[in-house]
């Protein structure tokens, strides 16, 4: 237990925050391990930013506790917490140069001038902005502003770096580049980061651990692959990527596998990968990613989870071709690595039993 505590940079325990009648954050509990990159993911208005600001100390939780580095910080004002916050709009002080912006937090650390300058230069070099130090914020591009904001948050060496959608103001190409850089930086410096975003792709790329929120509640916590392939609820499955949902009825239930029948009479075998209860005759929802379904003109060797279908439509998406395949009463979305030919007409459809997944409502 003590060892576990020592690995925790931030521990949020059953935190709730209300604004009037609206429950912005409702009983949130999660752990951020030291030197990890945690992403809080959710649609706008789900409470993720409120949760981040509560950790930063701008709101006091109505219930629950927040621990930073093992110490409870509920009543600590923001400037006494060791958090570095990067704002969505960067909030660079327009009347200060880049150097003054980065050095602002050091003013309160009682450092000597030379030490301050060294630290500013060091963090500037780390972020590749050492040649911008004499510029003004208004003279910088969006990507450069973002780096300055990160440098300003890092220079005081906070226990945890908090990032409030810092990539949302960048255009798509820059965003993709910067998120990789951010992840590399976090690894290289060995810092702990909590990153808030509504972009599911960003969350999967950048996070060691993803906390999915909806309507103020945390609905799932896990590594990106779990969030992607094993969504616990229909909301998570739907919010992240494209998914096929199949209504079915359980026909047989064991500890390792389930058998289910869809509306059109299709029999499916599913590896049991969740702790969701599934009794016989129960109506359930199954999810399967488009890339976890295979289609072929030739009959597959196995007969398990195989059905005949007809391609109704195909769209070329670059790296993949997306097929809309009618199987009995189901319409399935299937992604296939794009090659030379685009299939048409009748096909065999095979669903991987290990990728079929039971989701809760």
């Amino acid at each position: 237990m003590v060892a576990a505590m020592e690995k925790q940079a931030v521990y949020v325990n059953n935190v709730s925050k209300r604004f009037g009648p609206t429950e912005a954050v409702d009983g949130a509990t999660f752990v951020v391990e030291k030197q990890s990159f945690t992403v809080i993911l959710g649609p706008s208005g789900c409470g993720k930013t409120t949760l981040l600001r509560t950790i930063a100390g701008f709101y006091e939780p109505d219930e629950g506790e927040i621990y930073i580095d093992g110490k409870i910080v509920n009543t600590e004002p923001p400037h006494k917490r060791s958090t570095g916050l990067v704002f969505q709009n960067y909030a660079l002080f327009p009347h200060m140069s880049v150097k003054e912006n980065i050095g602002y937090g050091l003013k309160f650390k009682k450092l000597s001038k030379t030490e301050s300058n060294e630290r500013i230069l060091k963090v500037g070099k780390t972020l590749g902005i050492e040649n911008l130090l004499d510029r003004w914020p208004s003279q910088l591009s969006g990507g450069e502003q973002q780096r300055v904001a990160v440098a300003r948050a890092l220079v005081t060496e906070p226990q945890v770096l908090l990032l409030d959608e810092p990539l949302s103001n960048l255009d798509a190409k820059v965003r993709a580049r910067v998120r990789t850089e951010l992840k590399r930086l976090q690894r290289a410096l060995g810092i702990t980061a909590i990153h808030v975003t509504h972009d599911q792709e960003e969350a999967l790329v950048i996070g060691d651990s993803v906390v999915v929120m909806n309507k103020g509640k945390i609905v799932q916590i896990g590594p990106p692959s779990d969030i992607y392939y094993k969504p616990r609820t229909r909301f998570v499955a739907d919010f992240i990527g494209t998914n096929n949902f199949i209504d079915a009825q359980i026909t047989k239930s064991s500890a390792t596998a389930l058998e289910a029948q869809t509306k059109g009479g299709l029999k499916l075998v599913i590896d049991r990968d969740t702790d969701l209860a599934a009794k016989e005759n129960e109506r359930v929802v199954l999810s399967v990613r488009p890339e976890s379904i295979h289609i072929s003109k030739e009959e597959p060797r196995t007969t398990e989870n195989v059905a005949r279908g007809r391609i109704r439509d195909a769209t070329f998406l670059g790296t993949v071709v997306r097929y809309y395949v009618q199987v009995n009463e189901l319409e399935l979305i299937v992604d296939v690595q794009s090659g030379d030919e685009i299939l048409q007409g009748d096909v065999y459809v095979a669903l991987d039993r290990s990728k079929l997944h039971l989701v809760g409502e």
Binding site: F58, P78, N89, A91, F93, Y104, G142
Partner: protein, 543 residues
Amino acid sequence: MRVREPAMAAITAAMFLFLTIFLLWPLGEMIAKSLIGKNGLTGALYYEAITQPRFGNAFYNSVCMAVLSTITATLVGYVFAYAITRVNLPGKSVFRAIIILQLITLPFSTGLAFLLLFGRNGLITSTLLRATVDLYGLPGLWFVQTLSFFPVAYLVLAGVLRSIDPTFEYAARNLGAGGRNVFVDIILPLSIPGIANAMLLVALNVLADFGNPILIGGNFSVLATEIYYQVAGIVSNFGMAGVFSIFLLMPVVTIFLIQKYLVSKRLYVTVTGAPTTLRISPSSLYVKWGLFTFCTIISSLVVLTYGSIIVGAFTRTWGYDYSFSLNNMQQIMYQGIPTLINALTYAIEASIVCAFLGVLVAYLVVRRQAIGQGFLDLFSTLPSAIPGVVLGVGYIFAFNTPPLAITGTAAIIVLNHIVRRLPTGFQAGSAGLRQIDVSIEEASMSLGASRMGTIRRIVFPLLKSAFGAGFIYTFIKSMTTVSAAIFLVSADTNLPSVIILGLADNGYPGQAAALSIVVFAAIIVTLVAARLIGGNKLKLFEV
């Protein structure tokens, strides 16, 4: 270059003609009078003025008064603005109401109240303290103008403080700054352009102020009052009034141009992306209650002002007999009511025209439809910088003789109101217009409407509330103005504001107070009526 439509060109030309006749000509005539002697062009009057100690005093006094009052009024305005926009203070709506009150009452109400409380027969100085101190002159004037003009600074500064992105404060706090650091490092530096702007506006108002110096200046004469005495004194010297006007215009127009430049330049570019909604972060209790106390003291002084005017109106003889009486009210009925009807008629006529012209000029300027729109912009905002006294004198010069001999008529008063308040109408119009996306008009025109049809069917209906705002502001100012009107009224076209100033100056403060209340009541009734007609769309005084 884009092809201009003939209709737009015609309207522009008409606007320029109007401004030339009723703004530039009077000013030009004044310059001419000051430069032309019996033997043609001469600087003799200027030489005479500069060598007169009377002139030197007035000039020095004006500058002195302007500097002192500007500093204190801006300071008070900043404290109010900070307290109201950035601190969770109880009784904010009361403080706001106090500011609105100061903006919609007679510009010399505070001076009148000062007379009642601290004057030679003042309640506090003479009756209560039996003191013979003389607070007339600079000390009294400084105090009165601070109280009168801090709301002007407030309006500018509250807007500036509201527009400072709250994430700056949050970022500073996150980096370790406490409340004091946030103010000193972030809020104060970011409000400096706003403070400069507010100071310039207050200085314009103080320099142009005429009523307060007349009432409580005593021997402390300023340029604005000197101009009046040169015209209305025992021996009127129009040429000298012109010279004094020029000397008043020089600092005032300079300030105006600096201020316009500052506003256009927008010193700080805010570096922000998505808007954020953050609430006010709590300030320390010392700060909170310190600000509260300060605002309460200032507000109490304003309340005391209006309290003394109300009491004064119903007192038998102020200074000697404080018993209740309707005497003052009866006294003013005979002279007051007809002039009140004058005032209402002129103010309503002027406000309708002014709001309409304001929207029209705003359209021409904001949508870049006018030829010479830079000049149109400049001339339409210039009247806000010209002291009423100066424009009043200019009107006498220009319109006393043919071809346009209209002095003594109602028309000259209405026209003067229109020209002086055109900047207000223009501002309301352009603020409203900037909120309408150009594509709405383009859609109308692509669907076959002409430019004029689009203005009539799309722009004007959307600008109803801007029109309403322009109307209300013009109306209030026209009802209370005294500085230009005092030169233009005749026996038949007299105005209550002019009468009130005369009564107060000639030792009838009770009657002056009584008539002030009647004027104030008339303004309130009209505002309520406008609200009923205009509905909730009429947003007034977003302070």
